[in-house]
């Protein structure tokens, strides 16, 4: 074989567009021309529309539902209630957390805006008319919105359907409103460390209820083909394969008769992991009517009913010596799970991966207990741009370390440097049994401190404090745990959390790869192709990446928890290596040498010592279909199911500088410097974009987002009138930086990055705001740091005039 081109090695590498290059995104071309295909863009022949009658009450008995008038509305085709679903046993559905959730309210409603009836009509306007015409008679019941009151002896019993059960899927319960207790660590060791400690601190830290709020709400189109008996379900699914299995289990349809398709998704951030009543009702609707049924929620529905995040009432304690060296951590969490336990975590982890709460610090002992309770609020509890409950854990430890620094009179950078897991300790096993794969925390922090002239900032702050001005410097040195996960630890509904990639190389040397994940904006079509380009020596422009169709893609657990690169990205590399191994056999045959005489170079196998004698991957691809060594099967395809040996542990060091107006309470973010280490960097442009987006979501959470409820359970602020989404005006300018500490167990050393900026960002903002008041004796201020709350803090300190 001869090389037809005259390109240098560097040019050949550049042509590949592989790992490390800032390749422009392949998906952009359709989006910038309005040619994306989101679920609400789907228009099937005969398609009708469905939407819900929702409860105005947070807790009430449903005495009767009169649908007669609604059914008479022109254009209305059907009205479904729980009684209609009962014969199909679909009025309740299993949740991902072992509990059950009402699809349509069965005699009782448990939260405001809960689904009560489903109206199907020719178009959304007729449906809207129909919804108005449904008459529901409610008898209101006492409402429970404060999880602290949930376990009181005389508390109203919310879930009468499980009142007698001592277990609703995640362990023993001790009260009708109690869901589980999750207890980890060594209590005796931690208690002992506390009793002998020179310094202890305790802080009540509430991580408020927020919502991931992707710009596109949740929705689906269900289409039953009555002749073939096949159901196609299009939807905003972050995990389409899991949806297929769930639909099969609850609807009783054979899994091969169900095709789930996740088309383009307009952001997910965890909101689109769960299964919602709309999916079930649209499916029942299409089975009943024989016509495709679309359900797309409105924004208020989205914010008030489909998966919220956080709502963790945490009590944290640290014990330390007089030098600020931490000896132990104790945490209790009261977790408000709402009306149904529908949080999305790996099944064995009722508080997700919260036990990463020791963070970047070498803490000898720990004890964590989490109690989940029911309240009259929407169900959910998803990770909002973070790996399962990692943000809560990271926020807690990063806040607590600051509180400890204040107590022992240490600088917040110094206390971190004293407590860091050192680079020599990796792989490091934490006292809560996580094996951190790799890291270099001091280098990351020192790089940031130098970049921002930390010393200069401290001097400026000291001067401003003398003048009565409020300036805060916030640090966060976080460690994430992502890439769920090893099947020994992680499953969803008993299915191990592996992921997959299938590659087919076409005769002319281009390729298609299909994966079990599903992008919601992360740019998988671009970045997976880069991994494959480097591994296979095929230009990324010649590789199509497909996800989201369960009829074509291999089974995978989907995209959330920053798991795509750590798990499916690894599967991509492993599948490519299988192809390469076969390609080597074919190349040896083509070049008439032994396999061992060949070496790989960028895009070809070369004969060792005879560099001009080579076969490119493109040439090998063609040979795979016509010129094979004897005994080798034709074609060039591979599939890999990757069960990761461990999680990956991305980390970072963030620094935030704020100026606070003590007269108005307004917090101005002057500077935000974010250094991330996500191991091997596949596409720096995409990484930077992920960091910008994650920081902006962190900014939103720390500074303004909160779903609150009044005492009768009315959700306050479930629209964009009130729920804070920062615009381009409020959003700070971001500065990004990086170090590279590859993961030793991942095939290409990559760790994942999408969620790090949210995990680290929230603490950095919050720490900066509190730091602005630290010299006045303030150790903690609850999020979100809205001007009103900050103003109240100023008033309380007598500095607001």
């Amino acid at each position: 074989m001869t090389d037809a081109t005259e390109m240098t090695l560097e040019e050949r590498e550049a042509t590949l567009g592989g790992i490390g290059c800032a390749r422009k995104r392949k998906e952009d071309i359709r989006f910038i021309q309005g040619k994306g295909n989101y679920v609400d863009d789907i228009k099937l022949p005969g398609q009708v529309f469905g939407d819900f009658v929702r409860s105005p009450y947070a807790h009430a008995r449903v005495k009767s539902i009169d649908t007669a008038a609604a059914k008479a509305v022109p254009g209305v085709l059907a009205v479904l209630t729980a009684d209609d679903l009962k014969p199909l046993n679909l009025h309740w559905m299993p949740t991902l957390a072992g509990d059950t959730q009402a699809v349509l309210a069965d005699e009782k409603v448990h939260f405001q805006n809960q689904e009560v009836a489903f109206v199907i009509g020719e178009d959304r306007y007729a449906v809207s008319d129909g919804i108005q015409a449904v008459e529901v008679d409610y008898e209101d019941l006492p409402v429970l919105v404060d999880p602290k009151q949930a376990l009181a002896e005389d508390a109203p019993v919310l879930r009468e359907d499980v009142e007698d059960k001592d277990n609703v899927g995640q362990g023993t319960r001790r009260h009708p409103n109690h869901i589980f207790t999750w207890d980890v660590g060594d209590k005796d060791a931690a208690d002992q460390a506390f009793s002998g400690a020179a310094v202890t601190i305790k802080e009540e830290i509430f991580y408020q209820r927020v919502h991931p709020c992707p710009l596109e709400p949740c929705g689906c189109v269900a289409s039953m083909d009555p002749v073939r008996g096949e159901l196609t379900l299009y939807g905003t699914f972050q995990a389409p394969h899991v949806v297929r299995t769930v639909v099969s289990l609850i609807a009783g349809l054979p899994e091969h008769k169900i095709r789930v398709i996740a088309p383009d998704i307009g952001g997910g951030f965890g909101n689109k992991v769960g299964a919602y009543p709309g999916y079930v009702c649209a499916t029942v609707g299409t089975i009943v009517l024989g016509r495709p049924v679309k359900w797309v929620e409105g924004r208020i529905d989205n914010l008030s009913t489909t998966a919220f995040a956080r709502d963790y009432h945490m009590t944290g304690e640290l014990a330390a010596d007089s030098n600020g060296r931490i000896a132990a951590i104790r945490v209790h969490v009261l977790a408000d799970h709402g009306a149904f336990n529908a949080h999305a975590q790996p099944s064995k982890w009722p508080a997700g991966l919260f036990s990463i709460v020791t963070g970047s610090y070498d803490i000898p002992s720990a004890h964590i207990a989490v109690d989940g309770v029911y309240t009259n609020k929407a169900p959910g509890g998803v990770a909002y741009r973070c790996s399962f409950r990692v943000t809560e854990a990271s926020y807690l430890i990063e806040r607590m370390v600051d509180v400890l620094a204040q107590k022992v009179g240490l600088d917040k950078a110094e206390i971190r440097l004293r407590n860091f897991v050192t680079p020599e300790q990796f792989p490091y096993t934490s006292c809560l049994d996580w094996e951190y794969d790799s890291g270099d925390y001091p280098t990351a922090l020192n790089k940031v401190l130098e970049a921002v002239d930390y010393k200069g900032l401290l001097e400026e702050q000291a001067e401003k404090r003398k003048r009565g001005e409020l300036m805060g410097i916030g640090l966060a040195t976080f460690t994430e745990i992502v890439g769920a996960g090893p099947s020994r630890n992680c499953d969803i509904l008993g299915i191990g959390m592996f992921d997959s990639c299938e590659i087919r190389i076409h005769p002319t040397g281009s390729a298609i790869a299909r994966l079990g994940t599903k992008s919601q904006g992360q740019g998988h079509e671009t970045t997976y192709a880069q991994i494959l380009a480097t591994e296979l020596g095929i230009p990324s422009d010649d590789i199509t990446v497909e996800e989201g169709d369960t009829d074509t893609a291999p089974y995978g657990l989907g995209t959330y928890g920053s798991r795509s690169t750590p798990v499916a990205g690894a599967a991509a590399a492993q599948a490519a290596r299988k192809i390469k191994a076969k390609a080597q056999k074919i190349a040896a045959h083509m070049l008439e040498v032994g396999e061992k005489d060949l070496e790989w170079e960028v895009d070809r196998f070369k004969v060792k010592g005879l560099p001009e004698k080579a076969a490119t991957m493109k040439e090998i691809a063609f040979a795979a279909y016509q010129n094979l060594p004897e005994g080798l099967e034709p074609g060039l395809e591979a599939v890999n199911y990757y069960d990761p040996p461990n999680f990956t542990y991305p980390f970072g060091a963030y620094l935030c500088v704020v100026d606070v107006d003590r007269l108005t309470g307004e917090v101005k973010v002057r500077r935000f410097y974010a250094l991330d280490d996500c191991g091997t960097r596949i596409n720096p442009m995409v990484i930077e974009g992920q960091v910008h987006g994650g920081l902006t979501e962190a900014f939103a959470i720390a500074m303004g987002q909160e779903l609150t409820f009044d005492e009768t359970g009315n959700i306050q602020g479930a629209s964009f009138m009130d729920y804070f989404l920062p615009t381009a005006v409020e959003t700070p300018v971001w500065e990004t930086d990086f170090t590279v500490t590859p993961s030793p167990h991942h095939p290409i050393g990559a760790k994942g990055v999408g969620e790090s900026p949210n995990v680290g960002g929230v603490s950095a903002f919050s720490n900066a705001v509190v730091d602005a008041f630290a010299h006045l004796g303030v150790s903690h201020m609850p999020m979100p740091h809205t001007p009103w709350r900050v103003w109240k803090q100023c008033q309380a300190l007598g500095i607001g005039e």
Binding site: K24, I32, N37, Y38, P214, I265, G267, G298, G521, T731
Partner: protein
């Protein structure tokens, strides 16, 4: 509900349809004309995903009835490419500067930026941020959107200069 006729020009094409008076313009564009570029992200006129250009103004098409657009000249993102079919400077800018991720806000952002650059050919970064503040993005953190608009402004200004 009785229907009434409505005529308008959409992306240079004359449109003549019968609609219910309560039909929102965004549903008219998306469901009658199959122009699914404008998206619905809220029902309170905050998110801007449905932004179109209507008679030389940026308009959120989720809060206009189709009948109110009688006689109007409308451009949606589908009408943004250059006459020869090539990408407009703004479309190119969003791609070059990584100004989009999930793409849901992008059609609205592009349409708003289009009107902005017609009104102010050389906006500062701060002006761009103010002018786009009626359009929400959950993915990008806006920084690269600002760069994308800057890219388009620079390109259009350079073309203008070359032509003069």
């Amino acid at each position: 509900m009785s229907k009434i006729p409505v005529k308008m020009t959409v992306n240079g094409r004359a449109v003549d349809e019968l609609v219910e008076p309560r039909l929102l313009l965004v549903h008219f564009l998306r469901e009658k004309l199959n122009l699914t570029g404008p998206h619905v992200g809220c029902e309170t006129s905050h998110c801007g995903a449905c932004t179109i250009d209507l008679d030389g103004m940026s308009v959120k098409s989720c809060t206009v009835f189709a009948v109110q657009a009688e006689g109007a000249e409308i451009t949606t993102v589908e009408g943004m490419a250059n006459a020869d079919g090539s990408l407009s400077a703004l479309q190119e800018g969003f791609m070059q500067e990584h100004g989009l991720q999930c793409g849901y806000c992008t059609p609205g952002m592009i349409m708003r930026a289009h009107r902005l650059l017609r009104e102010n050919a050389n906006p500062s970064d701060e002006e761009i941020r103010w002018e786009l503040s009626g359009n929400l993005c959950r993915c990008t953190g806006y920084q690269n959107i600002v760069k994308a608009v800057r890219y388009a402004a620079d390109k259009l200004n350079a073309q203008q200069e070359a032509a003069e």
